[in-house]
């Protein structure tokens, strides 16, 4: 069971380089918070994987490994939920123009499944344009809610 200190509301913010190392850094940071909030091992795996997919999108597709562009990570926790916001400084994209990874003609595509997995694993998922530039994804996982 989480203790009082662990469930205390708090927010962590990090600005990360556009590298694959940052993917691991973000995943580990979020998993520490998830563990302290009392998420079980399977839920932690789903949260960690969602963060990994989102970070890869930000580093690879958003910032395109550009050393001058950063990835902005915010992790907020309350007693009943973990909220993760990941923003990049890329060109942005239109969610409606992405191919449906579940359509039969797309099943054998090499890529395009990351957002599908995030939506399956997290309780809430929002994506929007980031000011002044880029894309921001907000993900929420509630404690004790089966996914």
């Amino acid at each position: 069971m989480p203790n009082d200190e662990a469930t205390e509301a708090r927010t962590l913010e990090q600005v990360l380089d556009s590298t694959l190392d940052s993917v691991d850094v973000a995943e580990e940071a979020v998993l520490r918070e998830a563990q302290e909030l009392g998420f079980d091992e399977d839920e932690q795996h789903r949260i960690g994987m969602s963060v990994r997919e989102c970070m890869v999108n930000a580093v690879v597709h958003g910032n395109r490994y550009n050393a001058r562009k950063k990835v902005h990570l915010t992790v907020s926790r309350a007693a009943d939920r973990l909220t993760v916001v990941i923003g990049d400084e890329g060109e942005g994209f239109d969610l409606n123009n992405l191919p449906d990874p579940l359509a039969n003609e797309n099943l054998l595509r090499h890529s395009g499944r990351g957002l599908l997995l995030i939506q399956a694993f997290m309780d809430e998922f929002q994506i929007r344009a980031r000011e002044p530039k880029g894309t921001e994804v907000k993900m929420v996982k509630y404690v004790g809610k089966a996914s």
Binding site: H45, V60, L107, R113
Partner: protein, 114 residues
Amino acid sequence: MSVKLTTRQVGDVTVVDAVGRITLGEGASTFRDTVRDLASGGHKKLLLNLAEVSYIDSSGIGEMVSGFTTVTNQGGQVKLLNLTKRVKDLLQITKLYTVFEVFDDEAAAVRSFS
């Protein structure tokens, strides 16, 4: 830890035992290179044993699909063995359960190639 892949022959089936993580970067590229090398070396019946794979991300899934396509286009087959619950979940979410043949028993998997 990235992924470690070892291969062994069971009759004319090449079993690939994978241990570790198949994620973007070294894990996914090691997996891709191994499957491509096997395919180009004439190994047309590949059975991927994922019992000891602790983590696959969407890049890893992508490499599995690409390997499947590469080998199938050369007239071969790729099948999966011993999936963990987490990997099974991934295949269900992505509908790839409809693409891959999946087995829990190695002998049955090997027989299915003939």
